[in-house]
Symmetry: C2
Subunit: 348 residues, 2 copies
């Protein structure tokens, strides 16, 4: 019996310091639980009821311009407000709170209501990446903002309340839990070894190959050794850069290329609109150099066995630790095996 | 403007060392996303296709006895196996794994397919608690087992694959992430202050009252100051005990009473079958005394605004940190305001 492919085991995530329980032998259990919706082929190019489509009215009464390509605006229902009391709250060392000023932005990827990243062209996705860079630089330059979190929730299963292709940007005063863990672990690794955690990890994965999904000159998509979600991936820059504002030469275009190819592979896996949450982890904007930060994206897709059966991170996961059924190596092999031509574009 | 009730702010969880973002002003945003199923009134007392009902065949061919009350057995699709190679895997300090032996048990609460905790009597729930104690002691005594995690996933929204009232018990060799964090924080607090974190926290909450939901002589149900889920609660023992095996006198019955009353309040909140994941955190069974461990339960229910609109912990939450819309104080007030008579039992 081999530990990593046949036995229940735990794997360590060096970026967060946490563990995941892996149960390679458990894939065949029957499923009588919740079933997800599948592909809706009839999404219109323009939806008069969508608050993100060009020219439409938003919930707060503002009207969108008749934009083409990307369009960014302040979220009408922002989770963070710019003005909060500069106050700390503390009672008995047990009730602790602090004001959290911030900004919430919405960024539409396209004027077209029916598009998604895998169906956009590389130049179109490159424009989105340029917008991510611009937003990062503009928000990061604000005094109150020390971290810029860009993320996309795609699909009803991932809480997206609108299918129009868009992402959100939440820029905060504090460094959120997950970024803070990665920051600390990258710092400690650099201190101990003198090199960059993700540079070393990427070199190791490139030499092994078994968890690589696809790559180009500037980016690699892989299933991390410590992946939690069944088909979780990371997209890692091959050059040691810390943030969107360091993308040069062909790197923005290469990132667009890898995002398109990876999301096509996802859609082809179960021949469905593939739900996920994804987002970028980049260097904090607090003014410190953070030279050990290595720019990367995480994709967290929930589907497990088919277009309708997802993984739930519930009881044991919430109270104990994340658990997965198929191994990261199997997941990577399956993602490698599918085509980079979208199943809907294939001649029938 | 008051920090805790009107402004975006962060609260600190002293049990885990992590933060939650609170956005009190954000409750009114429109929802066009996924809608949950509501109450299914026609569940039969016995379902011939249910693999947990008495006398039925299970997926692996075994047949359940014609049990009454509680019934426990080894999970047919266990995430943990008893025999795994005693092997550690490590490559370049970046790929780290270890064998994880363990046991997975299923515990039916009742022979009746249609019951749930809020509809069971206090003596019936007390039998369940005695079974939790027996399982904890039996599994905890095994050499390979250092932690016993009892949890219930209730409702399709929480990944329950079968509505028959039951919980699971996953007993592990290592101490899972969440229990390890709580263990470390309780230890550090004891070291710094000389007293127990949850004893002090409970005393503080009892004196303030605003986050208390309900209580009896031996247990208190409250919305913790740092709650993540909209109506998240903790059930905390008033006496400093570490585990099920220390329940004495009327404590098992008092725990049954508080579980029944709390779950009735949950059902009455939106007059629906109320989904949740819940579970107990108790002292590790690794043989060390863990005198600073304080026995408690967590309830993590997903519903936010109605029986059909839930909170999603997705993009920002996965990449950054948990975010909530209503304040813990508002949630506690709403749970306090509902009746302890189940809405279906009311004279119409
Ligand atoms: O064992 P079940 O109830 O089929 O499975 C459920 O609970 C498990 C433990 O929390 C999770 O790992 C599964 O994702 C979930 O669907
Ligand atoms: O802002 P949206 O898309 O309506 O909301 C979605 O993403 C947010 C950020 O991850 C989450 O807090 C919400 O729970 C989710 O439904």
């Amino acid at each position: 019996m081999s530990l990593l492919s046949n036995a229940s085991h735990r794997r360590f995530n060096p970026l967060t310091g946490e563990w995941v329980l892996v149960s390679p032998h458990r894939t065949s259990r029957p499923w009588q639980g919740q079933v997800e919706k599948t592909h809706d082929p009839d999404r219109p190019r323009y939806d008069p009821t969508c608050y993100l489509c060009p020219g439409n009215a938003r919930a707060n009464g503002a009207r969108n311009p008749t934009y083409e390509g990307v369009f960014a605006f302040d979220n009408d229902f922002a989770a963070l407000s710019a003005q909060v009391p500069e106050e700390d709250f503390a009672q008995n060392g047990l009730l602790i709170a602090q004001g959290e000023p911030g900004r919430c932005r919405v960024l539409c990827f396209s004027e077209r209501h029916d598009l998604t990243l895998p169906h956009m062209s590389v130049p179109e996705i490159t424009r989105v990446i340029e917008a991510w860079r611009d937003e990062t630089m503009r928000l990061g330059a604000l005094d109150a903002i020390n971290y810029v979190q860009i993320f996309e929730n795609r699909g009803a299963a991932m809480g997206a309340s609108n299918p129009h292709p868009h992402c959100q940007i939440w820029a905060t005063h504090s460094i959120p839990n997950e970024a803070a863990k990665e920051s600390e672990r990258q710092r400690a690794y650099q201190e101990q070894t003198g090199s960059c955690l993700l540079c070393d990890y990427l070199a190791l994965e490139q030499s092994l190959g078994e968890r690589i999904v696809c790559r180009n000159d500037h980016f690699v998509a892989l299933v991390p050794f410590w992946a939690i979600w069944p088909f979780e991936t990371m997209v890692i820059a091959t050059r040691h850069i810390g943030s969107f504002d360091e993308l040069t030469g062909g790197e923005a275009k290469a990132l667009a290329d890898i995002l398109k190819r990876l999301t096509i592979r996802y859609e082809n896996l179960f021949e469905t609109d593939f739900p996920y949450s994804m987002g970028f982890h980049q260097r904090p904007t607090d003014g410190a150099p953070h030279a050990n930060w290595h720019f990367h994206a995480h994709f967290f897709p929930p589907l497990l066995r088919s277009a309708t059966v997802r993984k739930f991170m519930v009881g044991f996961e919430m109270l104990g630790e994340p658990q997965r059924d198929i191994t990261p190596e199997t997941a990577a092999a399956r993602l490698r095996d599918v085509s980079e031509t979208h199943y809907l574009d294939k001649p029938i």
